[in-house]
């Protein structure tokens, strides 16, 4: 069993800024993920690249040094993800970043998915039949 934990725009912004009201909450999740990784549990954190664009996460920028060092993986908007995201966006009208999140949920090989989000309603809509755990910020 493997779990993928996805971050949305708000989670990324909260992670970056120590003065963000949700910073400690997001850090708590990163700490739990890290502690489980240290016990060799199959759990990873990832961010779809369209979410990074929305949040302004430039990996070359020193302003993003802290999130960069946490080794949160990018999920690129490749051909398969772009097609799936386009279908989500056409069907639901969700923003591009949320559509990419939906595509990742759909295409990941992880057996369990958690998304940390400020918009649980949209996530539920995007997830459809996918077994998704939603953490509301």
């Amino acid at each position: 069993m493997s779990r993928l934990v996805l971050l949305d725009n708000e989670a990324v912004l909260a992670l970056r800024d120590a003065s963000h009201p949700k910073h400690r909450k997001v850090i708590s999740h990163v700490q739990v993920i890290t502690s489980r990784q240290r016990r060799a549990e199959a759990i990873d954190a990832a961010v779809p690249t369209a979410v990074r664009v929305e949040a302004g996460w430039d990996r070359r920028s020193p302003a993003w040094a802290f999130p960069n060092r946490l080794r949160i993986a990018d999920v690129p908007l490749d051909v398969a993800h772009a097609s799936r995201a386009a279908a989500f966006r056409s069907a639901t009208g969700v923003p591009v970043a949320d559509a990419h999140l939906g595509a990742v949920m759909d295409l990941t090989s992880a057996t369990r998915i958690t998304v940390i989000t400020s918009d649980p309603r949209d996530m539920r809509r995007i997830a459809g039949d996918t077994d998704l755990t939603i953490v509301s910020l």
């Binding site: 779990r3 934990v5 120590a18 910073h23 400690r24 909450k25 850090i27 708590s28 999740h29 990163v30 700490q31 739990v32 993920i33 890290t34 502690s35 990784q37 240290r38 060799a40 759990i43 802290f66 060092r69 946490l70 080794r71 958690t114 755990t133 953490v135």
Partner: protein
């Protein structure tokens, strides 16, 4: 080297394409080597003992680096350091555990368990809170 410089250097090495390989003279316990060989051959846990070893080493290093980053962050931002109650709530939320809807119960369980088990994990707290809820 500063801690951050070490972290960045290890991260850069982990991000390398890993095309270049080296023979090592690392000595490991014979029994561990044999256990790994058997696990590869009979359980199919990896394509080779080398693959198994490098994969395990990478996982340990990545987790250690991230923990070092978090520890460094906590030093500069002590208010960001989660307590056991925060971690228990986060663990329950990540897993979609029903008790994630009762954060106060989890925080209370964390406070209780810390008295006798200072090294308790977030998952210990969730289990303890679940057991208490079940018994009630």
């Amino acid at each position: 080297m500063t801690a951050l410089a070490v972290i960045d250097r290890i991260s850069a090495l982990l991000d390398d394409s890993m095309q270049e390989t080296s023979n090592t003279s690392m000595r490991i316990p014979t029994a561990l080597r044999d256990a790994a060989a058997l696990a590869v051959k009979e359980l199919g846990v990896a394509s080779s003992t080398t693959s198994l070893t490098t994969s395990a080493l990478r996982s340990v290093l990545e987790a250690a680096v991230i923990q070092a980053v978090l520890d460094e962050h906590y030093q500069h931002h002590p208010e960001a350091r989660p307590d056991l109650g925060d971690l228990a709530v986060a663990a329950a939320e990540i897993d979609g555990h029903p008790l994630s809807a009762e954060p106060d119960r989890l925080r209370s369980a964390a406070a209780e368990i810390l008295v006798r088990h200072p090294g308790a994990t977030a998952e210990d707290v969730v289990l303890w809170a679940e057991a208490r809820a079940f018994a009630a």
